[in-house]
């Protein structure tokens, strides 16, 4: 004998639909996808992902040192560093997506993230 009451109301269906979409989305989505317009800074034991905009100066501190990064027009350069040869300062602004600023003495790597054309560069 039917009571005339549906098993699920419209609201129930919406909630369950959203949950289903979430399940499918989680299943299909890769766990690690690089964002675009970001700068990744890797230092000993630490890592930061910073938005390339807006223009600003940011001090990155880590165990054993620090660097001052200057962001402008979506690019970045090392504006201040206390490494001995200061090669990272001479590198200037980060160029294309395959470019990297590397400070070997402080073990800091600065790269663009997202929109990368190559998976690796042989040099």
């Amino acid at each position: 004998m039917s009571t005339g009451r549906p098993l699920l109301t419209r609201a129930d269906a919406v909630v369950l639909g959203l949950m289903l979409a979430l399940v499918v989305g989680l299943w299909l989505s890769p766990a690690d996808e690089a964002g675009s317009g970001r700068v990744r800074v890797v230092a000993p034991g630490q890592q930061w992902v910073l938005p390339a905009y807006p223009d600003r100066r940011v001090v990155i501190e880590f165990a054993g040192g620090h660097v001052l990064l200057e962001f402008a027009r979506g690019s970045v350069r090392v504006a201040e560093s206390y490494c001995p040869r200061r090669v990272c300062l001479e590198h200037g602004w980060l160029g294309g997506v395959d470019d990297a600023i590397i400070c070997v003495p402080q073990q800091v790597v600065i790269t663009r993230q997202g929109g990368r054309n190559c998976d690796a560069v042989t040099r």
Partner: protein, 327 residues
């Protein structure tokens, strides 16, 4: 009651999806320092296999650290010290390397020579400080007798012996390539079917990108380090480059660099860079340096399976079965 039952089922499905998602193969990235350079790795595998104390990333770092120690004198890990100074009792893993170096030295007519350190010292291209002008010709001639693998090194089945004349064996020209060979072997044992390992520009690619294409590897333009000369899609191979832009100085308009011709004591001339693709890391790494010195892309085609691209001034190229760039 039924609603609660259905909602519970979905909640359970959600939790299951989260758990299973960590078992889905995905591209795991990491950047770290090893061999005194930057290492970039990408492995297509479940996150659970990648992370953690026993994960592939930790094992990769441990393996590189072990190799650093193998290549270094004492416990220091500077690239300048990547040399086989204790040649009397080399680690077992060296023996294969030493025999490879011996073969490449002979095949190349001496263009590849792991005893080149005294020359690098004279040129001021070894260690932290760089020279700003070439040495006097007499200084080069004075150290040449200390250079020469076939004269300085007696290779035995269990390793090598060097005479006590101040000569040293430097395996840096093949260290990264050898490290890549070992890592690819490790990754395959861990059932990684796709990935990229990049040790300071020496690159190994395994399988293909999850998008169904080859892994895209750019070749640096020696005339403009912020640009790529070409871009390739590669599967299951190794690619290495040697270039005159890496370490050197310019004096009176002439570039002097660290890729020295061991037979003359002077920097190799004719090409700005040599890039080699091979099925083994040590072949790609060793041949990139050797072909820079020999100056011909097909110079070793009879002895080794490889493809090569030499880039000279004005974009001039020399090729040996070099693959076409991707469209």
């Amino acid at each position: 009651m039924k609603r609660v039952y259905i909602a519970g089922l979905f909640a359970a499905a959600l939790l299951l999806a989260v758990a299973l998602n960590r078992r889905q193969p995905t591209i795991n990235h990491a950047t770290f320092f090893a061999f005194d350079t930057v290492v970039n790795v990408q492995a297509v595998c479940p996150v659970d296999d990648w992370e953690g104390d026993n994960g592939l990333l930790a094992e990769t770092k441990n393996d590189l650290r072990a190799q650093e120690l193998m290549f270094t004198r004492g416990a220091r890990a500077d690239a300048e010290d990547i040399m086989a100074s204790a040649c009397l009792s080399p680690p077992a893993a060296w023996i294969e390397l030493l025999h490879f170096c011996d073969k490449l030295h002979r095949d190349s007519g001496g263009a590849f020579d792991p005893t080149v350190i005294p020359l690098l010292d004279v040129w001021g291209l070894w260690g932290d400080s760089l020279a700003t002008r070439p040495p006097a010709p007499g200084a080069i001639a004075a150290v040449l007798p200390r250079v020469g693998w076939s004269r300085q090194v007696r290779l035995l089945p269990e390793g090598c012996l060097t005479p006590d004349t101040g000569s040293e064996v430097f395996l840096g020209a093949v260290a990264e390539g050898y490290a890549l060979d070992r890592l690819v072997e490790l990754w395959r044992k861990r059932r990684v079917t796709a990935g990229v390992i990049d040790i300071g520009g020496d690159v190994a690619v395994i399988g293909e990108h999850p998008d169904g294409r080859g892994w895209r590897v750019g070749v640096q333009d020696p005339a403009a380090p912020d640009r790529l000369y070409t871009e390739l899609e590669l599967r299951d191979c190794f690619i290495s480059t040697s270039g005159d832009y890496e370490r050197g100085f310019t004096f009176e308009g002439v570039r002097y660099h660290h890729i020295l011709d061991p037979r003359t004591g002077w920097p190799a001339r004719g090409w700005h860079s040599a890039t080699v693709i091979a099925r083994r890391g040590i072949v790609a790494d060793g041949l990139a340096t050797t072909l820079m010195v020999m100056g011909k892309a097909d110079a070793l085609r009879e002895q080794y399976a490889y493809q090569a691209l030499l880039i000279g001034a004005g974009g001039r190229t020399g090729k040996w079965r070099w693959p076409e760039a991707r469209p």
